[in-house]
Every structure is written in C-alpha cells, then in structure tokens.
C-alpha cells in the first residue's frame, strides 16, 4: 500500500497549493487527504491511516498547536510525524510546536524543493 498524507489548513486554496507542490516535488504519495482544522483532522484520523501530516498553525476552531497537544496523547496516531506549514515564523511558536512533537517546519511562502527537503528529512 502506498503512502498517504493528510494536509490540515483552514484555507482550501492552501490545501490545493500544498497538494500541487507535493506533486511538483515528485513525492510519491498515493493519496492526499484534507482537513480544515485540528478537530477535523483528529476526527478523520479516528478512521484513516496516514503516514505524514502537514499542518497549519493559525486555524479557527482548533489550531495546529492544540492539535499537536491532543494528538500526542492518542494511541494509534501519536507517532505519525507532523510537519508544520505556516506563516508563523516566530521562534517561540515554532519551539512550542517542536516541544509538542512537530517533526519539522516549512514556512509560507515555500517552494516544491523546500517541501521535498523537509519531508525527505522526516520520512
């Protein structure tokens, strides 16, 4: 079975841009799943297996930091690597994401090369 990735962002445009960048980067994901915020992602992960999560931080309902906080305590999904894709370049928020288990960070705007580099270092 091929690899699956979950893209979490409240912007449908950004989810499409990330999906397009994954293809442009030549990354071999068989399926790209989408969620609009952290809560939607947690709900989806109850029934779906994924190999990687790409998540925004600044989202309504449940932001990326709270998503990381809850995910790390849930058996079955706590070990799925999460890479943050965000405009939030501040060291404090990136540090907080890292302390909650984020495996990497990609800052918007990004290139397909950057996506490939960071994902390659995680998978």
């Amino acid at each position: 079975m091929g690899k699956r990735v979950l893209v979490v962002d409240d912007s449908s445009t950004m989810r499409k841009i990330v999906s397009r960048a994954l293809r442009q980067a030549g990354l071999d994901f068989d399926e790209i799943l989408e969620a609009g915020d952290g809560q939607e992602a947690l709900n989806l992960l109850e029934g779906e297996n994924v190999d990687l999560i790409l998540s925004d931080i600044n989202m309504p309902n449940m932001d990326g930091i709270e998503f990381l906080r809850q995910k790390k305590d849930i058996d079955g999904i706590k070990n799925i690597p999460v890479i943050m894709i965000t405009t939030e370049g501040g060291a404090d928020i990136i540090g907080e994401a890292k302390s909650l288990g984020a495996a990497g960070n990609i800052k918007k705007p990004f290139t397909p090369d950057k996506i490939r580099e960071v994902i390659g270092s995680v998978l």
Binding site: D10, S11, S12, T13, M14, K16, I17, R20, N58, M59, P60, T86, T87, E88, G89, G90, K107, K108, P109, F110, T111
Partner: protein, 157 residues
C-alpha cells in the same frame, strides 16, 4: 522603533511572488493619499494585535486576482469564486507573515487573526482613520494591486 514600513511591505510581497507565483511584478512608490473606494475588486484583510495593532489589506482588481489565483493553483480562472476569495486572503496571510518576521527583528511581537474577504462591483473600505497608513502599489501585466498596512497604538520602545 524605527521601521521602514514601505520596505517591509515591498520585501514581503516580493518574496511571496518570487517564491510561489513566478509572475513578473514591478513595485511603485508608496501612495500619499488614502484609497477608500474600489470597483470590480477583491480585498483580503487581516488584522493583528500585540505590541502594535493594525490591519494589512490587499486590494486587487478582479483581473489581477484571477492572475494570482491562476498562478498559485495552476489553472485558468475567470470568475470570482471561493478559490479566488480564499487565495487573496491567503496572500494577505503570507505577506503579513513576512512583515511579522521583520517586526520580530525589531523586537515587536504581533499575533495574526484569520483573513476576511470583501468582493463586489463597488464598495468602500474605511476604518482606522487614526492609524498610520502605508499603501504600496504593485504592477502586473493584468493591472495594479495595492498592499496597505495600517498601524496604531504603537508601543514606545
């Protein structure tokens, strides 16, 4: 605090275009007059608060918004749909994200809200008249768009 707001806007906007859009763009000189009225346009607005409070807005004529959306999503766009509105909001988010980094280099912390979009045949955007306005025009083949930064309640540093 000694921030060159025009430079912050230009550097961040240019970075977004160079990295993600690959559209040829030129930069104009900051406008001396405030612009309130827009026709057949889309405006993406993003507020922020923290050490300073304000609002970043991108005002795009429809043809410019279509070109930006098409370049980002890799498809032809010819109507104001949710993709176009969402794209202009996300552009505002990325441009303000770059400006936030510039602020951080000056020790200024801000927190971003989520974008709000206005679109229509004719509309007026007002508010924050007591703020400092910096509006920079940028030019694409399809027309000119504006990036406007309003700041108020500056903290003394």
């Amino acid at each position: 605090m000694d921030l060159d707001l025009q430079k912050q806007i230009i550097d961040s906007t240019q970075s977004v275009f160079d990295t993600m859009l690959m559209l040829p763009m030129t930069t104009g000189t900051a406008l001396s007059e405030k612009v309130y009225n827009f026709k057949d346009s889309i405006s993406g607005m993003l507020g922020f608060a923290g050490d300073i409070q304000g609002m970043l807005t991108i005002h795009c004529p429809q043809e410019v918004a279509f070109a930006i959306t098409g370049a980002l999503l890799g498809m032809e766009v010819d109507e104001v749909d949710e993709d176009v509105k969402d794209t202009i909001g996300e552009m505002a988010n990325m441009v303000l994200g770059g400006i936030k980094e510039g602020f951080l280099e000056h020790g200024i912390q801000i927190n971003l809200a989520v974008p709000t979009i206005l679109a229509g045949r004719s509309y007026r955007v007002s508010g924050m008249d007591d703020a400092t306005w910096t509006t920079v025009p940028f030019h694409l083949d399809e027309g000119q768009f504006l990036v406007e930064l309003k700041l108020k309640d500056r903290k003394n540093r």
